[in-house]
């Protein structure tokens, strides 16, 4: 596992807050634009394709899990 999932920030709330506040006042489309740029900037900073793949897999599991839950609720 190349991806670090330990808590890396001394103050995790600051990091979460920074991202949240970046989106304040933006339309949905602007928020999506911001996320797209932010992902690319951070991916380049990490600069490790294995870490990126693992990060994508970890993030994507949430999307798939929640869509499965929705399907189950509908059944």
């Amino acid at each position: 596992m190349a991806l670090s999932t330990r808590s890396n920030f001394a103050k995790p709330d600051d990091a979460f807050r920074a991202v949240v506040e970046a989106h304040r006042g933006l339309s949905e489309a602007q928020s999506a634009d911001l996320d797209a740029a932010l992902v690319l900037v951070l991916a380049n900073h990490i600069g490790d394709i294995d870490v990126l793949h693992e990060a994508i897999a970890l993030a994507k599991r949430r999307v798939l899990d929640s869509s499965q839950q929705q399907q189950q609720q509908q059944q």
Binding site: D33, L40, N44
Partner: protein, 537 residues
């Protein structure tokens, strides 16, 4: 508009009078006299093979089609004796510029260093390349080029292929030990062997217009995303010989090809781009493209090369160039098999090496195409983010994909001998030989690629240093750099590019790829590497 540049006469061949038990038997029949078939025929002929080359047409030169020929292709053509003619006529270039809207995002140089015989690329209309290759075949009695000979049926037997060929004088039969299908993307031989040709179809349409005009633009590849003259789409401008300019405009997926192709409708688009109307059309073509390849390039005794075996999008100049790489890869192997010097399984390495190269070319050109024509809203958003980040960051510039231009693949192949020594650079086994400037004994300047040609385009040992010459196996050429009688490495570039010290040697294949390398070659190690690269173990 473009006329056929060269017309060739059909001539009846004595083979057409033979039938039944007396039909003609040939070692190799190549189908398709395009750049790939012609180059393969010349290479085989130079190796001493008699070659029959068939083409169903009697002319070349409708439209420019392929225009960018890579350094690797030029080095191959040097070996075939046509490199100078191509480069003398072609437009040499190495710089590309990418624009977004009205402003330049960045520029790249595909060959930023000196000391290579050939440039990164030349632009040359395909019909010139074909005409020069046809001229070269005329100097080689081993090449028997037959126009208006169309293969209509083939039957695979144990040790040969039986071909039925239609001509203006009616059909005839011919047998070949091997048939090489260089008959293009719509290959009829591919259908005859029943092979599938599946892949990805792109919906976006592109308009190619080759226009004649005198202009002072530099000889660079210019690519625009969302230019002011063609909002929301991409555009390309690139110079060819004879004051011809290639213009490539992305159209909407739902554009009507019949309407868009009409010069009256193309003209205003080009006027918007150039800002004037002083140009004439040389060629207009509208295309959609596919990225696909055959699962197997070998079907019994029928071998596929070039577009018949694989197709890519045009962004990256990976079509004709990869076909030429197929030809240089196949030629020496087929020659050895025909001479009985290697077993037929050597040909499997052609499939292994060139199908992996096709996968790489498809991957690269698909990525370029997806970047130019994003499929989903989110893809478009990510692309927009890259384009806007490119304005102020280096990483953004490098992520902008306006076509990644053809470079030779590095083969992971059973023909390579794994490195056992320590290397900090240089081409690894499976990579093509880098060029370097050299001086001969008399102080005359030459290149390493020339030295490779001089020793016969066969297996060769490239040796560096002052020690005693290595004990080279029979039939293997020797290129010595340094020492008594060796070539001089005036700027030390060869040593640098090959990570060479005294005693270093590289075993080069007949196609100029590295088979093995040694810090100090022993005869048994050389013999083993040579046997492996020849498919003998």
């Amino acid at each position: 508009m473009a006329q056929a540049k060269t017309q060739f006469g059909y001539r009846r061949h004595p083979d057409q009078d033979r039938s039944g038990a007396s039909v003609a038997e040939h070692p190799v029949v190549i189908v398709g006299a395009g750049p790939v078939g012609l180059s393969l025929a010349i290479d085989l002929a130079q190796r001493g093979q008699r070659v029959v080359l068939l083409d169903d047409a009697d002319r070349i030169g409708e439209g420019s089609r392929a225009i960018c020929f890579s350094k690797r292709s030029l080095e191959f053509w040097d070996r075939l004796g046509v490199g100078d003619r191509m480069v003398d006529k072609g437009v040499v270039w190495s710089v590309g510029k990418i624009f977004h809207g009205a402003s330049q995002l960045y520029q790249f140089n595909l060959l930023p260093e000196e000391g290579h015989k050939r440039p990164a690329f030349i632009n040359l209309q395909q019909f010139y390349a074909e005409a020069y290759l046809v001229d070269r075949t005329a100097q080689l009695p081993e090449v028997d080029l037959r126009w208006r000979n169309k293969v209509t049926a083939l039957e695979q037997r144990n040790d040969r292929v039986a071909l039925t060929i239609a001509t203006p004088d009616g059909p005839y039969q011919m047998h070949a030990s091997f048939v090489v299908a260089c008959d293009g993307a719509r290959s009829s031989l591919r259908q005859m062997v029943g092979a599938e040709f599946a892949g990805q179809v792109f919906e976006d349409q592109f308009l190619i217009a080759d226009v004649k005009m005198t202009a002072e633009f530099p000889t660079e590849r210019w690519f625009w995303f969302d230019p002011p003259f063609h909002a929301g789409r991409s555009a390309l401008l690139h110079k060819q010989p004879d004051d011809i300019w290639r213009i490539d405009l992305q159209l909407n997926p739902d554009a009507d090809p019949a309407v868009e192709k009409q010069p009256a409708n193309v003209r205003p688009r080009i006027e918007r781009m150039l800002g004037h109307d002083k140009f004439d059309f040389e060629w207009i073509s509208l295309y959609k493209f596919q990225c696909r390849r055959m699962a197997k390039f070998l079907h019994g005794r029928v071998i596929f090369a070039g577009d018949s075996a694989h197709q890519v999008s045009p962004f990256g100049a990976r079509g004709a160039n990869s076909g030429l790489e197929d030809a240089e890869n196949l030629s020496w192997k087929l020659d050895r098999v025909l001479r009985g010097a290697s077993p037929e399984r050597l040909l499997e390495s052609y499939h292994i090496e060139r199908s992996a190269a096709a996968d790489e070319n498809i991957r690269e050109s698909t990525r370029s195409t997806d970047f130019m024509a994003p499929v989903t809203k989110q893809e478009a958003r990510l692309r927009q983010a890259v384009l806007s980040l490119a304005k102020e960051t280096e990483f953004g510039k490098r992520m902008v994909n306006g076509g990644r231009l053809s470079v030779p693949s590095v083969y992971d192949t059973p023909l390579s001998t794994e490195d056992r020594d320590e290397w900090r650079g240089g081409p690894r086994p499976g990579a093509s030989m880098p060029d370097a400037p050299m001086a001969d004994r008399n102080g005359g300047s030459t290149f390493l690629t020339d030295a490779f040609i001089k020793q016969g385009t066969r297996f060769a040992l490239l040796e560096f240093g002052n020690g005693a010459a290595a004990d080279v196996p029979e039939g293997v050429g020797a290129i010595r750099v340094g020492g008594d009688g060796g070539l001089v490495d005036p700027e030390g570039l060869a040593a640098k590019r090959y990570d060479a010290v005294s005693g270093t040697s590289y075993l080069l294949r007949p196609d100029g790829y590295v088979a093995a390398r040694f810090r100090k070659a022993s005869r048994p190690a050389l013999d083993a590497a040579l046997a492996r690269a020849s498919g003998l173990n």
